[in-house]
Point group: C2
Chain length 440, copies 2
């Protein structure tokens, strides 16, 4: 017996789901285009060696293709590594691009929580050697614009710098990677478990207490830090000082962009190894689903692929949490995905050829229209179908209408019938449809 299902951790996106995903990706696309970004599309799988040593402990989750002779490949785990490989291969030194596509992770799936093995990712990145923090500020501006345009309520961006985290790790003399991977889990597992993990990794308890105080720092402006006991120490560490300067400059540009809903939060760490500077995550206030945008600066990833040590391609970018935003919309909005504007019915007989002729005229005028292709004719059921599917206009033709060269129009919502001359149909329908344009 054939097992009729999708593979574990994957799902079919049916009409409603595909409609919502389209909405999310189109919203992002329109913002990216405003920024003059171009679209890039890399393969679904890469040479396996390209993907290795980029994702730390999570590497075991990479899907491998069978060796069927030829290249040894794996499915992409994110869109960032393919983008960096593209830059290294083409030797492009600057580009602003977006990319949307599915990525694959053999994680423990939890579909109800929006954790899939195959899921959409939507990335925006700026590569190039520019004046400090200008591209970073654009990244924050873009992420903010997307969260605003999604129209899902208030949100806040948490901003930090890997340089500050690294500087602080230097100050207390602890390996940076131990700190990052542990405090990245703070929101999920709580401080006690983070501390436990740190101590297991060999960090002295005292130092974890100092770290705790440090990562509790949250401030709406770096200016406020003047009063903070750690600021002087951070200023004395070259790396941390660079981080502080970066964030101050970022703040200045965010003011120009009139962006207010952010906070500097020293507990923000981000998981991936490749970040080198500013990092951030964005959260909607009313939804407890984790970060809906996240990213940062990764200045060395492209160089990892390059044989020429003189070429440098600094990058900064972010991912949109497409599946999380999808879950929010899917769980909280009552969406009608039907895009049909006109349904053609008939009275008493089939009048199939007359209906097809009307249909053709509507299609050729770019009006979304349908008719029925089966034997049953029951106007009442068609009316119910239109109501249920939010189809605003139903056209009925019968012997009389055909004889008089007219159509009988039902405005479904208003329950109003009107006779319209056949030659006026397109004009009439266009006017009615324009009034009923639908937004998600």
């Amino acid at each position: 017996m054939l097992d009729i299902r999708t593979p574990k951790g994957t799902v079919d996106y049916g009409p409603l789901e595909a409609y919502i995903i389209d909405y999310i990706l189109n919203t992002c696309t329109s913002i990216f285009k405003t920024h003059g970004a171009i679209s890039l599309d890399t393969p679904t799988f890469e040479l396996r060696d390209i993907l290795l040593n980029k994702f730390g402990d999570d590497e075991v989750q990479i899907y491998n293709l069978e060796d069927q002779g030829g290249d040894i490949c794996s499915l992409r785990y994110d869109l960032t590594v393919g983008f960096s490989r593209y830059l290294a291969q083409t030797k492009l030194k600057k580009i602003k691009r977006y990319q949307m596509g599915k990525v694959f992770r053999r994680d423990q799936p939890a579909i109800t929580k929006g954790r899939y093995r195959e899921f959409y990712q939507c990335d925006y990145d700026i590569a190039g050697d520019y004046l400090p923090m200008v591209a970073d500020a654009e990244i924050i501006q873009t992420a903010t614009a997307i969260l605003e345009k999604m129209n899902l309520g208030e949100f806040i961006l948490k901003i930090n710098s890997r340089k500050i985290l690294l500087g602080f790790a230097q100050i207390i003399d602890v390996d940076q990677n131990k700190i990052n991977s542990a405090i990245d889990k703070l929101a999920k597992i709580g401080w006690d478990n983070v501390q436990k993990e740190l101590i297991e990794k060999g960090v002295e308890k005292e130092k974890t207490e100092i770290l705790k105080n440090f990562i509790e720092i949250k401030t709406p402006t770096i200016e406020n830090l003047k009063e903070n006991k750690y600021l002087k120490e951070l200023r004395n560490n070259a790396m941390a000082n660079e981080g502080i300067e970066d964030l101050m400059l970022l703040e200045k540009y965010l003011k120009i962009y009139n962006i207010k809903n952010y906070i500097f939060d020293f507990s923000l760490a981000r998981g991936a190894n490749y970040y080198t500077g500013m990092i951030f995550e964005g959260f909607y206030d009313n939804y407890d689903c984790g970060a809906v945008v996240a990213g940062g600066r990764y200045d060395n990833l492209v160089e990892d692929f390059l044989s020429n040590p003189n070429m440098r391609v600094p990058c900064v970018g972010f991912s949109v949490g497409v599946m999380r935003i999808f879950s929010i919309i899917n769980n909280n909005k009552n969406i009608n995905y039907n895009i049909t504007k006109v349904y053609i019915s008939s009275s008493k007989q089939l009048f199939l050829e007359d209906r097809l002729s009307l249909l053709n005229e509507l299609w050729n005028n770019n009006i979304n229209a349908e008719t029925y292709y089966n034997k049953r004719i029951n106007i009442m059921e068609h009316k119910k179908y239109c109501k249920k599917n939010d189809i605003p206009i139903m056209i009925v033709i019968g012997e009389e209408e055909i004889k008089n060269n007219e159509i009988d129009v039902l405005l479904v919502e208003e329950d109003i019938n009107e006779k319209v001359k056949r030659e006026d149909m397109i004009k009439y329908i266009k006017e009615k449809v324009d009034k009923k344009k639908k937004i998600l």
Copy 2:
């Protein structure tokens, strides 16, 4: 040394390529939506057993995923099998859907000829048990509308029916599958090689000669066949007779749809095993790249997945040859993919913050705008950049402009400079940009 390239048979779609593919897929989407179709999105890989025994000899080209514990999967080979699995799984009995996505075939790649191992497919299918040939006619109407809207010149659809081919195979007492797979190669390898293959497969030479005469039949209307020596024989075969009746009915509906550019061509066979009725392929007159749309009726594929023998989900649909249309556009059109409308430059000094402020205003008004993020300021180079990239408007600010609260606008193509009040900027730019809306 890391091998920095994409896997064999795959490519990166850079800005120009991604722009063309977007154009093709968006053109198709707009037509599908006109027909009230909904979007469906199935996983990139399926349980391997689902894919087996669907693609005949070509099955060796399926990409398998490594067995890493859990499901045994393979990358999808087309979008039709996943769609049929979806129908069987959801027990939906009718749907009109489109799907776009990449499919994967370990074929011998020939990138220059547009033959890739990973490539886009774009499908439109109508499932449901309807009055005869009505959905088939809509399929032809839709394929025609797409080829028209692509605006790449004259085209013709070749139409046939698997029922006629099967009936003829019965008449000359030869296995249908031998005939289909052989004559499907006619255009590629020529009759002599087709005949050779048939004889190797055990078909008597005499019968191949009869077959040759039969498949030479091409007619703009089934009516014309009345004079044909084979018609009586075909009419006496139940299966072939059904095929003839189907095509006559189809012709009637195509007349209603005012579709003229088709020919009934009995040499059209199509490769896949699953077709059961009307089949067709469409070709642009001026491009020698093979079929750019192709499809047909497959009434039994969904049932293959069903345990309930009483459920029937007849289907008809087609694929758009996205990569072939891509090759046509890419090789024959001079396309500028830049979507930036306004470039902000500065005179004498950086004026970075003033430029960012202008940029923000443009972005917030949905005007695609860019500025420069590096130190160098050279208006002449910026002007060259705008010309090269077809950016219609360049804004320059300098000390004087800032003092006077105005901007200096250069209409790049016309080489006209105008001073505009800062507060009139958005209105001014919108008017200019609207006049320069660009079509592919």
